[in-house]
Amino acid sequence: MKTMTLKLVRMPDAGLEAENIRPESFAGKSVDEVTNIELFSGNKTLRLREVFEVEGNTAENAGEQHIILEGDLSRVKRIGESMTCGEITIKGDVGYHLGENMSGGIITVEGNAGSWIGTDMTGGEITIKGNAGSFIGCARRGMSDGMGGGKITVEGDAGSEVGDGMHGGEITVNGNVDSFVGSYMKAGVIKVGSLGSRPGYAMMGGKIIIQKRFEMPFYFRETGKEGDYACHEGDVGFKGKGVIQAKE
């Protein structure tokens, strides 16, 4: 695995969009070519060297490329978008759309992450060691299908609408999630520590597992027990077959 470290030295006022920070854009290029990669801020195009200090080597194949990002990247969006292989590690916070449309590879965030993580994702793995925003693994605006595969783990808390429209894959949030987890969910698994309100709205399939006692909304009917968990099926109003298991 060849490692390249990018250290944030300047943050443009309008934030930064960095879908080109992904192993596929780095592999097979010289360090000079990497520093020339295009990033976007508002309607301006910047070069990577204008905002990052670069150190390390590039790999021949994207699968062997590891990118490490350092600094406060909470206003940097779209890192690892459409990534297919390789690895990205972010030593700090990161902004919106991390790993959107990702189909392979590994992303690890050591701080907190913004909203829309892993939107439309079909494979790969994202781990957030801190908290994350809303709309994790959800469908893009105007679309009905969210995450279709892969794995997202949040060790802290997350916002609302986690796994909206999800039809495959796995999301784990060890902490608390806000309202509307798994709305319009069709398949896949969401595991949460605890949750706010209104889980599984219009849920047609898939499974939500809650690690804490939770009073189920009336639009889920009780179907029995499985070990320590009480099982419920719904959304009854939509004749859905989604399952929510809550610890007793």
Binding site: F40, G42, Y96, S115, Y201
Partner: protein
């Protein structure tokens, strides 16, 4: 001179039956308009009317020529890295088109009041679809009218008398007596006082009530005695009423979009209306606020494919409310220049957004002095669409109509906001092509 069938450019009803008496280019009398409409017609003679372009110099404003103002506005927008064009809900569709052209040309982003109003309804529309109809259908066919989270008597004063409750229609010959009115709200509003049934909901519990209605429609039962403060018996009664009506319509207001659940409340309601169409004919119509706020969504959609909150930073349209919407962009300080037209964000936006507006060069195209013009770098006089210039506008049921002009603007340099924006657009093109 008396002008008949004049349009009132205030709320989404777009009443087009107003009679206005004009003498020496001033309004002498207004007939048939509601209180809100009358005060808007009175605005024409307002002492606060902006008549000349002004530029900030220190704490004061100094008058400048139209040419200087157009040039200064174009320069601010061309030099910006992430400019915002905002407003339009009280403009004609023609002016909106030019505003969107400016945003595309300077690669900025464009949004309207719908972003923090019924934009949430539009997000739900995109997911579930909108089972809707026109107000003409309501007038002629509907026998069950539900106002949910909407106090039409105060927000759209002539809505009930012109379209939903009192008018006699082809199949509702007895008008009010042929219709049942149901109001669901958190308090007993003026609309609730004239309804046949009023159902008081606990605040932020609309979502649960809609879900319960869906179960009641299927003949299901639930364990709870009350949902959202409403008894299960009452919910079943309402479900039966909805199921057995001949033509039902729900008018949905901001009470649903701006309480807990946001667009999911609306999504749930649209799904319920779709289900009701298994039994009878049932529609939902959002109670749009400004007279052409629905028009912005229409124009934006045929220009870019998206209804609001569109960014052109990359030269092509992108859309993600919550990220590319006006409140979020301003709060995150991702705007470095702003053109506000026929809107008063200075009076309505959250403090954080207004603070950002005060930091950046702000161009304000306004009819009268407002809190926004006081923050502005540049003030350009606005023309009242639908009164001083002809306008195409969309009524709240998305029906396009034309508003007639019956007065001249109090200046000669421009005849409409469309023309003002066109002058700015042309100057932008000149600056970008180096033809200074």
């Amino acid at each position: 001179m008396i002008y008949r069938e004049v349009t009132c450019p205030v709320c989404g009803c777009g009443c087009d039956d107003i009679e206005v008496e004009v003498e020496d280019n001033t309004i002498k009398n207004v007939k048939d308009a509601c209180g809100i409409g009358k005060s808007k017609f009175g605005e024409i003679g307002s002492l606060d009317r902006v008549l000349k372009p002004m530029k900030r110099e220190g704490k004061d404003f100094v008058e400048i020529s139209w040419g200087e103002a157009i040039d200064a506005a174009a320069k601010i927008l061309v030099e910006a890295d992430h400019p915002l064009i905002y407003g339009f809900s009280e403009n004609s569709c023609e002016a909106m088109k030019v505003g969107i052209d400016i945003a595309e040309r300077i690669r900025g982003f464009v949004d309207s009041q719908s972003s923090h109003c019924h934009g949430l309804t539009i997000i739900a529309e995109q997911r579930t679809g909108l089972p809707s109809c026109t107000l003409g259908m309501v007038m002629n066919y509907a026998d069950l009218i539900i106002y949910w989270g909407s106090n039409a008597m105060d927000s759209h004063p002539r809505h009930m008398s012109r379209f939903s409750t009192y008018p006699r229609g082809i199949y509702r010959k007895q008008g009010r007596r042929d219709r049942k009115i149901v109001v669901l709200d958190v308090r007993k509003t003026c609309t609730a006082k004239i309804a046949n049934h009023f159902i008081q909901i606990e605040p932020n519990k609309d979502f649960e009530l809609i879900s319960a209605l869906r179960i009641a429609l299927d003949g299901g039962e639930i364990k709870q005695e009350k949902i959202a403060g409403v008894t299960w018996e009452e919910i079943k009664k309402l479900a039966e009423m909805m199921k057995n009506c001949e033509y039902g319509v729900t008018f949905v207001g901001l009470g649903l979009t701006h309480s807990a659940g946001k667009y999911n409340n609306i999504d749930n309601l649209f799904s319920l209306a779709k289900k009701l169409n298994d039994y009878t004919r049932f529609s939902v119509i959002p109670m749009r606020g400004h007279y052409n706020v629905a028009g912005f969504n229409e124009v934006m959609t045929w220009r870019s494919g998206y209804p609001f909150a569109v960014d052109y930073f990359r030269g092509y349209p992108r859309y993600n409310p919550g990220e590319t919407s006006v409140i979020d962009m301003l709060a995150r300080k991702e705007v470095d220049a702003m053109l506000s037209i026929s809107a008063d964000p200075g009076a309505h936006f959250p403090r954080k957004c207004v603070e950002r507006m005060a930091e950046i060069p702000l161009i304000s195209i306004e009819v009268a002095r407002t809190p926004t013009t006081e923050l502005a770098e540049l003030i350009i006089p606005g023309v009242i669409s639908g009164m001083e210039s002809e306008a195409t506008y969309y009524r709240l049921d998305n029906v396009p109509l034309t508003a007639k002009k019956f007065l001249d603007p109090p200046f000669t340099q421009t005849s409409s906001d469309e023309k003002t924006l066109r002058m700015i657009y042309n100057r932008i093109v000149e600056l970008q092509e180096g033809r200074v």
